[in-house]
């Protein structure tokens, strides 16, 4: 049994989500190969080769693979897919974009967002915004899977010494082209991988007030998050959104401030180790999942908390 993991990267750095996906592959058992499809991505391949448990890294390097276009990346995966029993993608925006395309071409079902491996063909995945966990068995010859990164502890980034092998890149599909990218700049830790997350909701009242969370995040070394309500109201950028349709996080500490706790939000954070909620409404559903709740006005409690830490 040989497993193919599709690396997530930006052509310069291997993204942490790849290491969690390799961990899921290790649970399935078998040789693990990593595909790096990109442009000028030798450094990424070298980093992947150092990850614990990786037997071989395949590097497909060409300009048409630079921007992760689904048509080209899926074709690249299909080009080398023969012989693999499992094809794993991290359940990130790019993994979710490409994996179903690969599965459909192979005429197999895809398993989305697995959180546990029971055996080589049986996996657990959340459904209904995480309100139920389904155990599903695949009868397909090849299992195409996306891995919820918070479900698996990352393998060590150093220590491995896999060989890097170049593979031929597929031709450009010509169906789509990349126009541009707007990256939200941030000096804080990446939301999905942060050990501490401080999130604000509609209770923050304005984008200006959202800045109140910055000193708290600085003190805790935390990433900033937001509820959908806060994002829709324009208080925070949309890549901060935590929830069923945003990012799924499971930090050591999640601080929810001015967030009521709708089920769609809880789906994105209820696997956090410790949850703290600060809300002035004692009836807010967020207190149902919080380990420590503080019923208080956030505009006084947050500065007090910053001072006390």
């Amino acid at each position: 049994m040989t497993i193919l993991v599709i690396a997530e990267h930006d052509n310069a750095h291997l993204k942490g989500a790849t290491l969690n996906t390799i961990a899921a592959a290790a649970k399935i058992g078998g040789d693990i190969h990593v595909l790096v499809a990109g442009n000028g991505a030798q450094a990424v391949a070298d980093q992947a080769a150092k990850a614990a448990g990786v037997a071989k890294v395949l590097l497909a390097d060409a300009p048409q693979l630079a921007d992760g276009l689904a048509e080209n990346v899926a074709a690249q995966v299909l080009d080398i897919a023969g012989g693999y029993s499992h094809i794993l993608f991290p359940a990130t925006a790019s993994g979710k974009n490409v994996a179903p395309r690969v599965a459909a071409k192979l005429d197999v079902a895809q398993l989305s967002d697995i959180i546990a491996v029971e055996s080589a063909d049986t996996f657990q995945r959340p459904i209904y915004a995480g309100n139920a966990i389904a155990t599903v068995q695949s009868s397909d010859a090849v299992k195409v899977i996306t891995v919820r990164t918070t479900g698996f502890d990352a393998v060590a980034a150093e220590g491995g010494s896999a060989a890097v092998e170049s593979v031929g890149a597929v031709a450009d599909s010509g169906l789509s082209s990349f126009v541009g990218r707007e990256v939200a700049k941030s000096d804080r830790p990446e939301l999905a991988g942060a050990a501490v997350v401080v999130s604000g909701g509609r209770g923050m009242g304005s984008a200006e007030n959202f800045k109140l969370l910055e000193p708290l995040a600085d003190k805790l070394g935390a990433a900033l998050g937001a509820s959908r309500a806060a994002v829709d109201a324009g208080y925070a950028p949309n890549d901060w959104q935590v929830g069923q349709t945003g990012k799924i996080v499971a930090p050591q500490l999640y601080v929810a401030i001015g967030i009521s706790g709708a089920i769609q939000h809880l789906a994105g954070m209820k696997d956090s180790k410790v949850i703290v909620a600060i809300n002035k409404d004692a009836e807010a559903p967020i207190f149902g999942v919080a380990d420590y709740g503080l019923v208080a006005d956030l505009f006084t409690a947050v500065p007090e908390l910053v001072a006390a830490l």
């Binding site: 921007d67 276009l69 689904a70 925006a93 790019s94 979710k96 179903p100 395309r101 690969v102 599965a103 459909a104 005429d107 197999v108 079902a109 895809q110 989305s112 959340p126 459904i127 209904y128 309100n131 139920a132 966990i133 389904a134 155990t135 599903v136 068995q137 695949s138 009868s139 397909d140 169906l175 789509s176 082209s177 990349f178 126009v179 990256v183 939200a184 999905a192 805790l220 959908r228 829709d232 949309n238 890549d239 069923q244 349709t245 500490l253 089920i263 209820k270 410790v274 949850i275 207190f287 999942v289 380990d291 420590y292 709740g293 503080l294 019923v295 208080a296 908390l305 006390a308 830490l309």
Partner: protein
Amino acid sequence: MKVLVPVKRVVDYNVKVRVKSDQSGVDIANVKMSMNPFDEIAVEEATRLKEKGVVTEVIAVSCGVAQSQETLRTAMAIGADRGALVQTDAELQPLAVAKLLKALVDKEQPQLVILGKQAIDDDANQTGQMLAALLGWPQATFASKVEVADGKATVTREVDGGLETLSLTLPAIVTTDLRLNEPRYVTLPNIMKAKKKQLDVLTPEELGVDVTPRLKTLKVSEPPARSAGIIVPDVATLVDKLKNEAKVV
């Protein structure tokens, strides 16, 4: 130009579902059902493209039980011109739905298919991409802005870390993200008008599609419950608990 908009009937997003005690699934008997929220956004976007004069006809389609007709009527009340239901009581997984949709695309020959990015029941996030693969069309998933002109669709997508813009050659597949638009409320006169619009009913057999599930659900269980938390009286107690009890700061 024709647009096809697939819509799904799901448990209303406000309902907190319960797992059945025999672990065979979740209990959806007697709970409120609605159109999947991302699909509403898809219908709204197609309707706006029609109002701009870019699109001539919007066809809403659904796959599933007979009651999905209600979902199609809602789509027609928002602005779809007609509907088609592939009616079956069988369990439909994304690959089967993508195959049914491909058969409908072959029949209707739209230039654009707009789907929701995921259904809030199975949370799969697969059907649009699978349909694109089966048709050999380009895709732009998680769209927050769509412009159609000169045989191309320019789509801004929500990705991890920000936004990216792609240009697709038509025909193409687009899946919607939350911020694409704010779906309009359906008005009573439009609900009445929607009742008179054409709604065709087909079967998977007529379309020649095998919908046998590939994934077998062995059981559905409750997620592990969190132990009950405590309410602390003030910030000082909170900090003390975090430092000395939870040891996370």
